[in-house]
């Protein structure tokens, strides 16, 4: 069902954990629906230098979270905003059709985290 990449990111997820000093946090999903992704980013000079996640969800949701934290690291915010659900799925060697929404969740959490970062910047 799942590709090798999905299983690898699920079994050995990268960048797990809270990030107390995050510059931006995005939460997407709803536990009533079965998936919640919490994405933390650290930003320096408009570039994401670190990312972490905590996820409640299925294997695909966890793999997507892990993959997207890897993908964003080192990217500028603008580059990161280009990451679509298709790109995440592609990086994972594909997802079963009914699991595509999981990669959307990942992309949305990332967008929220960047937004959060930008909002915080404005306030300062």
């Amino acid at each position: 069902m799942y590709s090798k990449e999905v299983m690898d990111h699920f079994m050995n997820p990268r960048n797990v954990g809270e990030m107390p000093d995050a510059d931006g946090v995005g939460v997407e999903g709803n536990p009533v629906c079965g998936d919640v992704m919490k994405l933390f980013i650290k930003v320096k000079d408009d570039r994401i230098v670190d990312a972490k996640f905590m996820t409640f969800g299925c294997g695909a949701a966890i793999a997507v979270s892990s993959m997207i934290t890897e993908m964003v690291k080192g990217k500028t915010l603008d580059e990161a905003l280009q990451i679509s659900k298709e790109k995440v799925a592609e990086a994972l060697g594909g997802l079963p059709p009914q699991k595509m929404h999981c990669s959307n969740l990942g992309a949305d959490a990332l967008r929220k985290a960047i937004e959060d970062y930008k909002n915080r910047q404005k306030k300062n």
């Binding site: 699920f10 536990p31 079965g34 905590m54 409640f56 294997g59 695909a60 959307n104």
Partner: protein
């Protein structure tokens, strides 16, 4: 270690069953309708299987109609009785514990103009006979209640409900797919009119099910055509599968007490260990009135499919009623109807045991399962509690 703990999904064929089937997969390939000896022998094999299946549930052979699956038997029962009795009334009662193959025909009948009442279970998955009684109207022609739930193991008070139906002249069907072959089932003692079963639930082949139809019960076929199955179900008989179902029924009858004892021992050991070793976990279904080989839980803060996958990587194969394991991406309607909140229902996991399982497998699982839970909780944003969760939250459709 490999541990197959998903016997509610399907079961391996017993070697004795395959052996009984083999001649019919090879030289005994005749069509049971043919008049020459090859056909006559196929016919006799089918009739012998009918006796074996009848004997397992204490029915007469003429009361057994073979189908291709439990789902077909359920559709046949619901649609067949609705069609046969529609001029007497158009109200049907089912429960929210039912399998899709009862619920979805019921929904179809609603579209045809029938009214359907869906009776809720209690927190342990039990249907109250009183609630059934209250749902009855003068228009009620059919009541269908699942015998035992594959999701939470609860065994329903079928005999009491059948009695209520009988007193009111209402046809009573039970979906006993998860029960037959796993616990004693006796149609005479129960007093049911129709009862569904499936061979692959008791070490028989896929592709063979049966509907018990009490003598004198009028029913309209689901599959019309030739004179097979006394005109009640057309199509060239799947002789090997039917023979296999017969042999599996015979074995089940012989071995039932040992089977029950074996799987109950495993189950009790697992439940005790799991409840001791894992926190924030719920044993779902009824604690006593349940299938002996069935243990179902909701593990808080994590999701069922993720558990399944991680357990599978350890060679442990189980099931879940979580949204992510269903293609519809909805949490199990059964768990929700029992009053379990959706976010907790997503942590559903079901272990179901069979004759091929051993105590060593249980011990292994009691080592591995708590670790799986721990690892997934390390990833979970809720590991410290369900903060901010509104129980009544609604899921927006996910595209």
């Amino acid at each position: 270690m490999e541990c197959y703990f998903d016997h509610v999904a399907t079961n391996p064929l017993r070697p004795e069953v395959l052996e009984a089937m083999m001649p019919y997969l090879k030289e005994e390939f005749g069509n049971p309708l043919s008049v020459y000896p090859l056909g006559v022998r196929a016919r006799e094999a089918v009739e012998k299987a009918r006796e074996q299946v009848a004997s397992l549930v204490n029915a007469r052979p003429s009361e057994i109609v073979f189908t291709s699956s439990g789902a077909e038997a359920n559709n046949f029962a619901l649609r067949g009785i609705a069609m046969a009795r529609q001029y007497e009334g158009k109200h049907i009662i089912v429960t929210r514990m039912e399998h899709h193959s009862v619920l979805n025909p019921a929904r179809f009948l609603e579209k045809l103009g029938f009214a359907v009442t869906y009776v809720n279970p209690d927190r342990q998955g039990l249907i109250s006979p009183d609630d059934i009684k209250k749902a009855i109207t003068d228009e009620t022609i059919l009541i269908s209640v699942i015998y035992a739930s594959p999701e939470v193991g609860t065994i329903e008070p079928i005999k009491e409900i059948a009695q209520i139906a009988r007193e009111r002249g209402i046809t009573f069907h039970t979906d006993a797919v998860a029960a037959v072959g796993n616990i004693p089932v006796d149609v005479e003692d129960l007093g049911v009119d129709l009862l569904s079963m499936a061979a692959h639930q008791f070490y028989g082949p896929k592709g063979a099910g049966a509907l018990y139809i009490r003598q004198g019960t009028r029913i309209i076929p689901l599959i019309f055509g030739g004179i097979q199955e006394g005109g009640r179900r057309a199509g060239t008989e799947n002789v090997p599968a039917i023979v296999g179902m017969g042999r599996a029924a015979e074995l089940a009858k012989e071995e039932l007490p040992q089977r029950v004892e074996h799987v109950r021992g495993l189950r009790d050991k697992l439940v005790e260990g799991v409840m001791n070793k894992i926190e924030a976990i719920h044993y779902t279904g009824h604690p006593d009135r349940r299938l002996p080989g069935h243990a179902s839980f909701c593990v808080e803060y994590i999701e069922g499919e993720a558990m399944l996958l991680m357990l599978a990587s350890k060679g442990i194969y189980a099931a879940s009623g979580s949204a992510c394991t269903s293609k519809a991406l909805k949490a199990s309607p059964v768990l929700l109807s029992m009053g379990i909140p959706a976010h907790i229902a997503h942590g559903s996991i079901v272990f179901s045991f069979g004759m091929d399982n051993t105590m060593e497998q249980i011990e292994y699982t009691l080592e591995e399962f708590p670790q799986v839970v721990r690892r997934l909780r390390e990833l979970s944003p809720f590991a410290k509690g369900w903060e901010g969760v509104e129980e009544e939250g609604r899921c927006t459709p996910k595209k």
